[in-house]
Amino acid sequence: MNERIKPKNSVMALYLVPIYLVYLCVFILPVILAIYFSFFNFRTVSSKTFVGLFNYKKLFTDPLLLSSLKNNLYLVLVCMIGQIGIAFVFANMLYSRLINPKVSNFFRTVIYFPVTLSAVIIGYVWTMIYDYHFGLLNQLLISFGFPDAVKAWLTDERSIMTVVSIPMIWQYVGFHLVIIMAAMTSIDKEVYEMAEIDGASGFRKAVSITFPLIKNTLSVCVLLCVSANMKAFDHILAMTNGGPGYSSSVLALYAYKISFAENNLGYGNTVSVAIMVVMVIIIAGAKGIMSLFKSKE
């Protein structure tokens, strides 16, 4: 292929090898090191002792690791329903011909804006919204006449994961909205017109036309949502730092806390290895399930 313009091997190597080496040293080497370090116990960064499978024994009996994984899975589920669900509904509303396209585009632009902000800022802003004394949420509850509902949102262990997931849903609705709307523009307008002549309602159009026709795009959204929430980290660190206790801890945050707050770098590496394994399984699994759906079509 393209043999006539293909440069000499040495020229190609000169271009590709340096970049590849950088990538190997900076990204792949830590992956290998994580596995290697997971067999050690660190006292400081530079003094470590071999402990064999000790860390792995701990890993499989660690209730906090399991609860962190559960929190990840909870986030995946809630964000999948929240982000993609809301985005799908909004996409259908904004795509309706009853709404002025300029206004609809403006709404889309505004709703997308939080996506461009950093997770730390989102976490920060929502910490203020949830604040007990000065938070917007409690102020709104009081002014709308629900003073009983006022509480310290970020310190209640039972509801913490829901409380934490709301900002994450809120931030990324715009992201999925834009993807879904782009997929909808590729649907032939005539299909909708025909349906309207037959008297289909907006709801009916969304369920019977839009949904099946953009199934592939929706599955991309689901995949993105799964991988984003399996690596949730910044938002939660900024809002609760995994607290109270470890009740809102997620895998990445747990590895971070083990390594830096508890100074246990060896076990931190073991948890990192566990994260990699879980990620590969879950993403590969999600892709497998998606492809099953696709072939059924």
């Binding site: 091997n9 990538y23 900076v26 792949i28 370090f37 309602s201 993105l224």
Partner: protein
């Protein structure tokens, strides 16, 4: 004939029963504007709240958190730029972002070009190694990366997180270039070669300009990821003078979390660059970030 009329009647009747009745239509229209509209307000209101509260004092704020400022109180902003030295952190983030942008564009252009145009030995291995990035989140390599950074003496060097961020972005960017180059006809290079242009010259003076649209897209994606980057700076920097804005904000949280208007002024200043860029180029940004997300 009568059958024909009947069928027309039934169609119009059907229409009449559904969304076409004026009152139903009006109601539907109100909902269509109101629901996404209210949601859009929730997206922008926190920013507006941050903005005007920045001009209030702590005591005014504790009396009523939602009220507008009574007069233009500028002490918070003065504090942000003199005491907190936010300018320094903005500069740090901008400097890192600049170098990351240059390297990601260069690296991904070269990688994407070769992978797309030629079949060569090790191509599949190359491809597979770059794919790893899509499965392994950077959060899983934070701890070993930290040890590595400390071991090679890069901790608290301002440039220490540039290459990690470059590698984080490289895979998606490479794939974007790859699929773009596939649409550029190879006759372009053939003609240039016949005219006696060397390979390197063709690559940078002929192919690079044609790839401009995709490079702009990559630039947008990389800019926002890098500007908002947090995890790597968290492990790489101990010394305050190297903090990026995200990290600095995180650290302020512990120290100054009682003075809300002041914190809000800080956050607002940190949001400003993204806000200005977004209001100027929102359509391009949305398009670019979406392309990156779907390819990645």
């Amino acid at each position: 004939m009568s059958e024909h009329v009947k069928s027309i009647n039934s169609v119009s009747k059907k229409r009449h029963n559904n969304a076409e009745r004026p009152i139903v239509k009006l109601f539907a229209r109100i909902l269509l504007y109101a629901i996404p509209g209210i949601y859009a307000i929730t997206c922008i209101f926190p920013i507006v709240w941050l903005f005007y509260t920045s001009f209030r004092t702590k005591t005014q704020f504790s009396k009523n958190v939602l009220a507008l400022p009574e007069y233009l109180y500028l002490e918070n902003f003065k504090y942000v730029f003199t005491e907190l030295n936010v300018g320094r952190y903005l500069f740090n983030s901008a400097r890192i972002t600049f170098f990351v942008l240059v390297l990601v564009l260069l690296f991904s252009f070269i990688n994407g070009y070769f992978i797309s145009r030629f079949r060569f030995r090790f191509r599949n291995i190359l491809y597979a190694t770059y794919m790893c990035n899509l499965f392994i989140p950077i959060h899983a390599v934070l701890v070993p990366t930290y040890i590595l950074i400390v071991k090679v003496g890069l901790q608290d060097k301002w440039y220490s997180i540039i290459l990690p961020i470059v590698c984080m972005e490289l895979t998606t960017a490479t794939f974007l270039v790859q699929s773009y180059i596939a649409t550029v006809p190879p006759q372009l290079e053939e003609a240039a070669a016949i005219d006696g242009s060397s390979f390197t010259r063709t690559l940078f003076t002929i192919i690079l300009p044609t790839a401009k649209p995709i490079l702009v897209t990559i630039g947008i994606i990389t800019f926002f990821h890098c500007w908002n980057e947090f995890a790597y700076s968290l492990i790489a920097y101990q010394n305050e003078k190297n903090f990026t804005i995200s990290l600095a904000l995180m650290r302020f949280k512990g120290e100054y979390f009682t003075d809300y208007p002041r914190i809000m002024a800080t956050i607002f200043v940190c949001i400003m660059p993204a806000l200005i860029l977004y209001s100027l180029f929102s359509q391009q940004i949305i398009k670019g970030m979406m392309a990156g997300a779907i390819k990645g």
